[in-house]
């Protein structure tokens, strides 16, 4: 693995606090994930692919934006791997780059309706932009 890629994998492991080697491959994280059908790569694959250094596919994954941060995978993992933290760290590796914000302020007016709570807007900016 080229040095730069290896460094990115190490950074993702460090800022997530996740040790993918704890995983015993039971698949419970993906089985319980409410966004499973909307994902290309699933929570258990994030754990496995970060461990193998296959980071490129994850950086381009739509799952980064469909993870609901509901913490079902975190709560139900029998090995306390916490896949949601890993997905968030990979998302940060993307949106912390210049020009890579996934959600931009000029998209917002088209999405507003009169009942949309501020909580949703604050969440979307925090999750999808830097």
């Amino acid at each position: 693995m080229p040095d730069q890629k290896q460094e990115l994998v190490e950074t993702i492991k460090r800022i997530s606090g996740v040790n993918p080697r704890l995983c015993m491959k039971c698949g419970k994280c993906s089985a319980t994930c409410p966004a499973f059908d909307a994902m290309d790569y699933h929570p258990h694959q994030f754990v496995d692919m970060v461990d193998r250094g296959q980071i490129d596919k994850l950086l381009a994954s739509k799952s980064l934006y469909t993870c609901l941060s509901c913490f079902a995978c975190v709560e139900r993992c029998p090995r306390t791997v916490e896949p949601a933290r890993l997905i968030e760290a990979v998302r940060l590796a993307v949106i912390r780059q210049q020009g890579r914000n996934h959600f931009k302020a000029d998209q917002l007016p088209g999405l507003l309706d009169e009942d949309l709570p501020q909580q949703a807007i604050a969440s979307a900016f925090r999750k999808y932009s830097k």
């Binding site: 997530s16 966004a35 609901l68 509901c70 940060l92 009942d115 501020q118 909580q119 969440s123 979307a124």
Partner: protein
Amino acid sequence: MVFSYFPGCTLKTKAVELDRYTRKSAEALGIELRELPEWQCCGAVYPQAKDEIATKLSSVRALAEARDEGLELVTVCSGCYHVIKRVNHDMQADEDIALRANNYMKLDNPYHGETRVLHFLEVLRDRVGFDELKKKVVNPLTGRKIGAYYGCMLLRPASELDFDDPENPKIIEDFLRALGAEPVVYAARNECCGGYVTLEDKPLAVKRSSAVAASARAQGAEALITACPLCMYNLTKNAENGLPVYYFTELLAEALGVK
């Protein structure tokens, strides 16, 4: 009973009724909620990465202010509760985050997680007591079949939030019983409504919130209650074949005769 109170951004805007009914009910129960003089939006989602510091500071500020007032900090919104309580946990348990946050804040007295964070439901359960609450009900909600919708933010991760059993919670069912209503237990009460993804992938939010409504309906619920404005939005705007949804404090105010 006096508490510091963090209303949060949405309770001042789209969820004013959640705030209003909370204050009215608290007054009827002899609870003083003293709004923090200066508070800022908690950020709505907990920043999970260990190197996210600036995004945690508004919570630290609120927590330190409550500490300086010598009071416990009460929230009503599930999102605020989740974020502030988890940041508090970081300030207690993660030395690196605490050091860096305190370096930013330059407080006279550095903050290390001294404040206790309570959800208003915990105040009702642990400080007022559901038996005492029951005695104050003047307008019991007899015969009303209501499903408690917990969602995610109140329960998970239980290792940090310590709110209730994350897979088989009962605090809101007990609350409903105290009000004289009939709680309806259903499988999806602690599954996600879709949350903020309504802005990114609306069909996914429709699917999730519809699954919650269908699960509650199948067990005979006639209405749902929630503590979260975003759950309220998804369950009322996105759920197909949805149910009426109320904030828990609206039913509380009704039962206490102060609505």
